[in-house]
Amino acid sequence: MNKSSVSLFIDKFTSSRLFYPLLALALILVLDGIFIPDFFSIQVRNGDLYGRVIDIMRNASTVMVLALGMTLVIATGGIDLSVGAVMAIAASVAAIMMNPVIIGLELPPDLMKFMNDPNFTYSPLWEVILVTLLVAIICGAWNGALVAHMKIQPMVGTLILMIAGRGIAQLITNGVRIQIFYQPYAYIGQGWAVLPFSLYLAFILFGLIWLLVRKTSIGMFIESVGINPKASFYSGINEKNIKMLVYIICGLCAGIAGLIASSNIKTSDANNIGWAIELDAILAVVIGGTSMAGGRFSLLASMIGAMVIQAITTSMYAIGVPAFALQAIKGFVVVLVIFLYAEPVRAFFQKLTLRKAVKA
């Protein structure tokens, strides 16, 4: 039985980690194409591309960024529930740096006039971004310290910041929702250079993290710690440092996501920014095929997972599912995905393809 190179390629592809996420994405897009008129149509305005598919990718960029960090954390056998709260903290820090006057109740009249000026910022943009990401890294380091050094279970350890984080975000802005008028900042989430700027951001981050984990030994150590922490320790791997690193990266990703989100809505809304988004990030990783128990991971598959989630959300809105029913539909899709990933179902499909191969 000589296999042709085509069937060999198919074999290789179907056993690849990207197969299931891509299949899910393709399935949703095909259904969209059938039920939603002009779904795939793309307009060109001033050389930039617009359309539903572009929208999906732009809206997915926040979850994509989060999923990158979350993938590494989950690969070590952990979880980070605090990413949504860290996003809120990041948004507050960024907003207050650009517009600190809003919390001082007695505003000097000479500053007052700048309030709504789209060209005014108190701190320069690079400073805003640097400090915000630094704060996000500190948040990640806090989680990492709890999990790696205090040996608190990740779910409990990160729950602390998940709950406290939004309070901290409120404290930073003195409980006020700060409007962001500064126009260049809006470019992060709303800018366009042929494709949405936030999408480039997500893919650049993907590239950097991929280089960091796959072109060094870090990726293998992360997987090793996730599969068997004891044996990893006995093999000389410093488990604590690895865990610190992944939580710090996850915090950093949450910070970037916070910048994107606040730039999108032009406020620091501590109550709503990143609300329940940690679940989307975790789901994206799961759809990407990384086991919640830790171990083998694929960053690209998680990125596709994030797109799957956003595609579902956007299609539901387009079909006319009311916002309040969306969570239920999402839940149903999750069940479906997890069902497809379950061992018996996979075995069934494997058997099916095996039989075909025998017949041929």
């Binding site: 030994s217 293998m220 090793s224 044996a231 990893s232 006995y234 093999s235 000389g236 410093n238 494997q350």
Partner: protein, 508 residues
């Protein structure tokens, strides 16, 4: 007459075939078990023993073949169903809950109840009674199972299997691999007692002496095929080994020759020197030294402190007394990572929990310690990694299709070789091997023993730990004996087995 014959068989398996993707694990295998018989099931690693047992216990469904239980054809649907039919198993790796107490582990699912609540007092006394009655051991059943040694855990697993009242068939999958001589004897007397009560026992082990001591018949499986089924009395040990491995093993003479040759090489210089070295609850302070090109055996019963000594030397935790010098340099920081830099390697006792990373490839497992020593950023590129992996796959004769195979798909013996490769890859000065031959087949065992001596010849120093005294004696130039977490004696040159045994038992 014909009916009578069928009735005298407790279990009959006919033409069992099981195919896994790419492997024919069982090929038309017949097997039967009589009432009141101890039937040894033998074969090398990956021969198909475990698969046959899994078919019998409902873990795997056979692709073809029939199973008769007491003359009636049965389809075993699940492990639970197998238990209901009276087939109980104690697996090779203890699969109980270390977080529950001993009593809970024995009686889980059958806890005595009082007014809708668990009657703890009754449960504990029942469990203690069961252990005493069946195995004759007396331990605190309210302690967590995980706080006991592997040996005790194994005993608890056996007690649990036996406690299932209707057990007609008891399957013991390498029950003795972590037991001491005494405990093994205890187990055998239990087995004989059950045999006299007409229970059929399937006994899987790698210890051939034990097979001859206790079994009535021997079935040999190799490469998924039935090789033979003989009465134990009519099968010589040599014939049995030939059947199991398909060739005669490198004989003892050669080992002796190598050992004598390497004995001359043993240097005077201390490669490793521990002074007053110990840790509370692990081992009492001891002096231990290891010479250049020497194999030092650590002998002792399970729980005597052999493993703890190995872990402490490797720096898994810090000692609270004494000091350790490696090559005349004092160790200041105790961690596995630092040990790698000092050239100390440890192949741990518990291969599954502390050794292999089962979802990583053979290549990744082999280069893991080397890479951990180099750190995050001095990354070996994939070409280098493959070169190193392929070198050791060839050197140790690891049977795997490619270096990219996941380690979980390898047999126990090959996994052990992968761990050896991991440590040889860092080119250590001191190699600590804790039970490197446990649970692996006769052929591989001999290979590893020979490897130990070859390594010493090539300039490495080895600390060799094994529960098999014969093996320790065969490989070591010098033997330290531990008992009750203390080093109590040291022998060099020719040692008499009986003297050694008496020393081990003496102060215990």
């Amino acid at each position: 007459m014909k009916e009578k014959k069928a009735e005298s068989l407790l279990i009959e398996m006919r033409g069992i075939t099981k195919v896994f993707p790419g492997v024919k694990a069982l090929d038309n295998v017949d097997f039967n078990l009589r009432y009141g018989e101890i039937h040894a099931l033998l074969g090398g690693n990956g021969a198909g023993k475990s698969t046959l047992i899994k078919v019998l216990t409902g873990v795997e469904k056979p692709d073809s073949g029939k199973i008769f239980l007491m003359g009636h054809e049965v389809t075993i649907r699940s492990p639970r169903h197998a238990q209901e039919l009276g087939i109980s198993t104690v697996y090779q790796e203890v699969n109980l809950c270390p977080n529950l107490s001993v009593a809970e582990n024995i009686l889980i699912g059958r806890q005595p109840m009082i007014r809708g609540c668990i009657d703890w007092k009754e449960m504990n006394s029942q469990a203690a009674g069961i252990l005493k009655r069946i195995l004759g051991i007396d331990i605190d059943v309210t302690q967590l199972l995980g706080s006991y040694s592997v040996a005790i855990q194994q005993m608890v697993a056996i007690a649990r299997a036996l406690e299932i009242e209707s057990a007609k068939v008891l399957i013991l999958d390498e029950p003795t691999s972590s037991l001491t001589t005494n405990e093994t004897e205890q187990l055998f007397s239990v087995m004989r007692k059950l045999k006299s009560e007409n229970v059929g026992i399937i006994f899987i082990t790698h210890f051939l002496d034990q097979v001859y001591e206790v079994s009535d018949r021997i079935t040999v499986i190799r490469n998924g095929k039935l090789i033979s089924c003989d009465d134990t009395a009519s099968l010589s040990k040599m014939d049995l080994i030939i059947k199991m491995i398909g060739r005669t093993i490198a004989d003892l003479d050669e080992m002796v020759k190598i050992k004598n040759k390497t004995t001359r090489n043993v240097g005077k210089e201390n490669v490793l020197k521990a002074t007053d070295f110990g840790r509370m609850d692990w081992v009492e302070p001891m002096d231990l030294n290891l010479h250049d090109r020497e194999v030092l055996g650590l002998a002792g019963l399970v729980g005597s402190g052999r493993t703890e000594t190995a872990l402490l030397l490797f720096g898994v935790d810090s000692p609270d007394s004494g000091s350790l010098e490696v090559g005349n340099r004092k160790i200041r920081k105790y961690s596995p990572n630092n040990s790698i830099h000092q050239g100390i390697a440890l192949s741990p006792e518990d291969r599954k929990a502390a050794g292999i990373i089962d979802d990583l490839t053979v290549r990744e497992n082999i280069i893991l310690a080397l890479q951990a020593g180099r750190g995050w950023f001095k990354h070996l590129n994939s070409k280098n990694q493959t070169q190193i992996a392929d070198k050791f796959i060839k050197l140790l004769d690891i049977s795997t299709p490619t270096a990219e195979q996941l380690v979980r798909n390898l047999s126990g013996g090959n996994q052990q070789k992968v761990i050896l490769a991991r440590w040889l890859a860092i080119n250590p000065r001191v190699l600590i091997l804790d039970e490197p031959t446990r649970g692996i087949d006769v052929g591989t065992k001999a290979e590893i023993q020979k490897l130990v001596l070859t390594l010493a010849e090539e300039g490495k120093s080895v600390i060799f730990i094994s529960s098999e005294l014969e093996e320790v004696m065969r490989c070591s130039h010098r033997i330290s004996v531990l008992s009750d977490k203390k080093k109590i004696a040291e022998f060099s040159g020719q040692v008499d087995e009986h003297v050694l045994l008496e020393t081990m038992a003496g102060s215990g």
